[in-house]
């Protein structure tokens, strides 16, 4: 589904990703771990197509197509979803209005009919229940005044409604207490399916107790310095990044 080869990327003059190789197949969950500043968010942004994150070398193909050529909105419509590390506030725009606009933009892109208000509400209610999202969060302006936990939960709620193919979760666990973490993990797990893939970026092993990955990669200094199965995460938890990062 996703194939990253020798990916180099910079922001402005600063080279941040320095040769990343990664292949993700449908149904797989990959965890990317690494210390702060190692380039995890940068990788997510590059995959999602954020302006200013320039690919200087290497390639990324998604479903057999060159991804780098495409604009961010097109990638989103093609099924790439990023749950933001720091979800963004949009004052004056209700969460449900925003999400419906997004759903309909994507449906339009796929040549499907737009959902009317009722149709959308039904879908949204169903998914909100899954994430135990308080009703008022639907009607409040996007992320404005949401607690840290509510913001993260809302990201997964958007994801559940949009049903993407490739999910990038950037530190979705940070700022969550244990109960919220479980709810969010449950939500994510319920979206696991044989034709959906996920890249879960996290700083801590804790999340991976609930969302069990197929592979774990350690990112350091803009490169993947080690890959393994879920036990690698446990090992890192016990031993820290120490030697790997120094490398």
């Amino acid at each position: 589904m996703l194939k990253i080869e020798n990916l180099h990327a910079s922001v402005g003059d600063k080279a941040i990703l320095k040769g990343i190789n990664l292949e993700v197949k449908p149904g797989e969950v990959h965890a990317i771990m690494g210390p702060n500043g190692s380039g995890k968010s940068t990788l997510s942004y590059v995959l999602a197509g954020r302006d200013g994150y320039e690919v200087t070398d290497g390639s990324v193909t998604y479903n057999g197509e060159d991804l780098i050529e495409k604009d961010a909105d097109e990638r989103a419509c093609d099924g790439i979803y990023l749950a933001f590390q720091y979800p963004v506030e949009i004052p004056g725009v209700s969460n449900s209005y925003f999400l419906r606009a997004a759903v309909n933009a994507q449906r339009k892109h796929r040549g499907e009919d737009e959902l009317d208000a009722m149709g959308f509400l039904k879908l949204a209610r169903e998914k909100a229940k899954l994430l135990e999202l308080p009703d008022n969060l639907m009607h409040r302006p996007v992320n404005v005044g949401f607690s840290g936990g509510e913001k993260k939960r809302n990201e997964i709620f958007h994801m559940a409604v949009l049903e993407p193919q490739l999910c990038l979760l950037d530190e979705t666990d940070s700022g969550l207490d244990i109960d919220a973490l479980k709810t969010v993990a449950n939500g994510v797990n319920s979206l696991r399916s044989p034709d959906r893939a996920m890249i879960v970026v996290t700083h801590y092993q804790r999340l991976l107790d609930y969302i069990v990955p197929d592979q774990v990669h350690v990112l350091s200094g803009g490169k993947i310095v080690k890959s393994g199965d879920k036990d690698l995460a446990k090992q890192l938890e016990a031993e820290g990044y120490g030697d790997l990062v120094a490398a």
Partner: protein, 495 residues
Amino acid sequence: MEELDRKPKTSDDDHVDELLNRDYEAGFVTDIESESLPPGLDEGVIREISKRKEEPEFMLEFRLNAYRDWLKMTEPEWAHVNYEKVDYQSISYFSAPKLNDGPKSLDEVDPELLATYEKLGISLKEQEVLAGVQGAPKVAVDAVFDSVSVATTFKETLNEAGVIFCPISEACREHPELVQKYLGTVVPTSDNFFAALNSAVFSDGSFVYIPEGVRCPMELSTYFRINAANTGQFERTIIIADKGSYVSYLEGCTAPMRDENQLHAAVVELVALDDAEIKYSTVQNWYPGDENGKGGIYNFVTKRADCRGVNSKVSWTQVETGSAITWKYPSCILTGDNSVGEFYSVAVTNKRQEADTGTKMIHVGKNTRSTVISKGISAGRSNNSYRGLIKILPNAEGARNYTQCDSLLMGDQCGAHTFPYIEGKNPTAQVEHEATTSKISEDQLFYCLQRGLSEEDAVGLIVNGFCKEVMKNLPMEFAVEAQKLLGISLEGSVG
């Protein structure tokens, strides 16, 4: 210059469309043609206007006084714009549309302009009217709308309620006592250069009177008049809400038009008596000129309300996206004790537009309250200024004002300026002012794109969110139209 006043879509629209598409009766054009006067302005012209309109004597006097005031005044200067002075002797002050200088068909019309019409959902036939295509029913529409056939549907309902809603010239003839009682009492002829000129020569506009205790059974709008080329530059609108009455009035000028720089100098006077309320909403999207500042409308308008009665209330809500230069300060004189003035405004400037808008709230009576919410959005190389005056007179015990001015910048070549003036003469008054300036952040834009929204939709969404407090004061259907306009007028201004 044509000008299309639109009202929100209602079930009546099919009917209206039908009428728009109907061929107009022959012989009509010649009637109109015989009505025009040659260009130029002097007392003779003013006497002629008044005579042709069969006006009562007091109207002629009003006009002549205004004209004499005007002669003594000088045109205001705008330091920051290349404003080409209007030659007042080259305008025909009582004129029929120019019939033969428009494009012959839509094929001859600038495709960019047509694309804009498309987006606004304006029908092909309407597009012809707007673009001034020869043979399009630009005159007929006017006549059709003034004709009894269309008018009857709503006129009957209004008549039953005792509401008067008619062209101002008709009011001068049919209701001279009302016109004489209120005309020029809110905006005196000597108020300013453009108001004086307007008072001397106005030929167009609406007159509204809501009798005591009546809640106007429908929203009134100027949709039913389309003004043809070279008229409607000097509109005069008077709305009187008698004791305990209520009316919501919509003024829409949402059709963009291609034009030479043209002057629009309207005057609007509102009077609210005891316990009466007037809601006045405007959506204005005139042609703003191109990237180089060529073309576009100069919009110099005097809009003022007198909350004359106790507990009276006037709300101005406006969404301004058009005009090359806008100079406009809808104001409230809060004369009656406990009266309330509100001003909700969204002003968008793009390309080289210059907007200088704001409001004046004059607190005269006791416990008068005013609220001002102004949202300025600047893009391109435009300048957007808010200028607000809150004046508290000595007798305005307990007066309160709250003003909030928010500016949103798109790009780094535009400007937003806020000039709040506060004159307080009563120590018990409370005046509060808040101002913010922000930019559409890249974070917000990327967040929207990442959810699948196009950049255009994303900008529209963020901007509409920014303006929400104002938009929610517009009647529902009007708000939808206004939202669309914001998106269109800001297209391509990010990234």
